[in-house]
Amino acid sequence: MTDITALSEEQILEKLLGGNEIVFEQVFNKYHSSMQSVAYAIAGPIIADEVVQEAWVSALKALPKFEGRSSLKSWLIRIVANEAKTRRRKENRSVSLEAIQDSWSTDPRFSENSQWKNPSSQWHGDTPEELLSAEELKNCIEKSMLKLPENQLAALRLRDSGGLSMDELCNILEVSSSNVRVLLHRARDKVLKVIDHFQITGEC
């Protein structure tokens, strides 16, 4: 049986265009979750499934035109993000920036003069693979990501998972570049805190 992990993107594309259903199912299973989380974060949980389905249909129609200028994953994320943005507008749902005004200004890790008071610990592992060898940590991070404010989750998924450019993030989320930077920092910092806590305590 064909295993897409052993294929290049070019080979995967060739098989997809050739009507290989086994390869398509693997591609679906591999990328659907990432697409779903982008739709979930941008358009909201109620219409997320609908948005992802529409995005898949658009992607399948456009597949013969895919030129491989970005990765297949980035391409799919871009399609679902734009679909989600369109739907969000139709539903009159805007990306809230309220959550930017979070506890950063009173973060207890810093002293009053903004120096480190409680810096992060030394971690056991320098790569994602080393960190995630603890299955529990993987679950902790996933849970913490689902608790992020929607706008932070969207920024994190689009940028760190989808590899979209900062300009694309501004366009999709309809916020300024400085706000995108704040969203990304707050989201990454929360993930960092989860990892740090796990490194110290061995618990979520």
């Binding site: 259903e21 120096q115 992060s120 971690w123 320098d126």
Partner: protein, 84 residues
Amino acid sequence: MLPNCKQMAELASKNLDTPLTGMAWLKRKIHMLMCKHCSRYSDQIKLSSKTVSTLDLDLPINEDVKKNVEKTYQELHCRKDVSQ
């Protein structure tokens, strides 16, 4: 003036997306040479970002969506050439 540690934390993330240049780069570099906490935080925010990129959220797959998408794939890309 050099950035303080809190500003350095924000710069660590900013630098991942838009690498700092010129004086901003130099000031950050000098601060990191003097402050092991900021140097560590910078490495860790980069590692956190990389780790996130490898993770998929465990959202349940809607089986109806999967079926509909598979059907669309079959219709668009698996049609048999009836002329043969």
